[in-house]
Symmetry: C2
Subunit: 220 residues, 2 copies
């Protein structure tokens, strides 16, 4: 996928630093432009307004995903998961910036609402893509898979944004592999592994905690 356009990234970074330090409402476009070393008119050429600075990455990402998905893929379910991993990798690349954005969004209701709407755009993109890439797919499966990938993605991304600790992409990958298994579209689905049902036999007297421990050991 394409590289991220750098000139806007400088403005985004400067703006988020100001938003976090002095508040979103208290920060003017003039202050952002000055901090980023651009003119007011350059700012407005790059962004529609203050809000758009916060969601600039998403606008670019959604466009990149649209292009990526349009390339055509042998495994459309896998392509949706790859798209999710791409978004995660983008934010994990600069976690400090991502965390700053998250803190700002959390504190401003109008930004929080716009974020929910933005999340829905990813979900919709995945849904539309699956329906077009898989003619005859049950729309319910496309809708469900898109929603599940989006929800799982956001949950793992939130772990990265909330804490200080590093969340490796493998955390997301394993969550996405789980989503694929639930839809029976995991990569080894055609290998015919009899892993759908687990039969556990144990004495009634065994403590539930021990049963759980053993099951967990077996299932992992």
């Amino acid at each position: 996928m394409r590289d991220f356009p750098e000139p806007r990234a400088v403005v985004v970074a400067a703006a988020l630093e100001l938003f976090q330090a002095q508040g979103f409402d208290q920060t003017s476009v003039e202050q952002i432009a000055k901090a980023a070393g651009v003119s007011r008119s350059t700012f407005f050429r790059q962004f529609g307004g203050k809000e758009d600075v916060v969601f600039a990455d998403h606008e670019v990402l959604i466009e990149q995903l649209r292009e990526f998905l349009a390339e055509g893929h042998d495994d459309p379910w896998g392509a949706v998961c790859a798209a999710s991993e791409f978004v995660f990798a983008h934010f994990a690349h600069d976690p400090e910036l991502a965390r700053r954005r998250y803190q700002v969004v959390r504190q401003v209701p109008v930004l929080r609402e716009r974020e929910i709407i933005t999340v829905f755009r990813y979900e919709r993109l995945f849904d539309d893509y699956l329906r077009s890439a898989l003619p005859g797919v049950d729309p319910l499966d496309a809708v469900g898979f898109a929603a599940l990938v989006t929800a799982v993605h956001n949950h793992v991304l939130r772990q990265l944004l909330r804490g200080k600790k590093k969340i490796p992409v493998s955390t997301l990958q394993s969550a996405l592999a789980d989503v694929r298994r639930r839809y029976g579209v995991h990569q080894d689905a055609t290998a015919g592994a009899p892993d759908d049902v687990v039969v556990a036999v144990f004495p009634r007297s065994m403590p539930v905690a021990e049963i759980t421990r053993r099951l967990r050991a077996q299932l992992d």
Copy 2:
């Protein structure tokens, strides 16, 4: 669950008829109040504004679901599905009104955005409920199940809202049964057990926390 408050319903019906006939932006609060046979001040006591009329049902429904879920349920996954069915039944009860609302929302971007945010509130309610009702549940399972139920619900509801044909609640029920199977928490997921040896058969996809919960219920 509680009955729907009727006085507001009259205003909602009158407003939606006006919105559809002459447009949302072109309809004034005065016109709505007059059509509903209430005073302007009664309108503002019942609703914050024009937008709130469109989402009044959701406000009541979300509160009703919150109360219903708080009652405590043996099968929390099933309770979330029952909540979804309750919402569907509410709109299916008067499909003409629901379709009118859908047409109005589709045509006004600000209403469309608020709808997306409203949908997210249901999803969040289900997620929070599952996490509190199932201590130790993997948050990823709660997040995913909540997102999937919400997405599937909306898809089936949209079929009702878009077309002229009747969509029976059984369409939603079978879609929700499918969601439960994907999470291994369908009603017949656990088989009976003999005396001193317990044989537990469950789908590999069932969350360990759910296996524990069911085992505990069976063994106690």
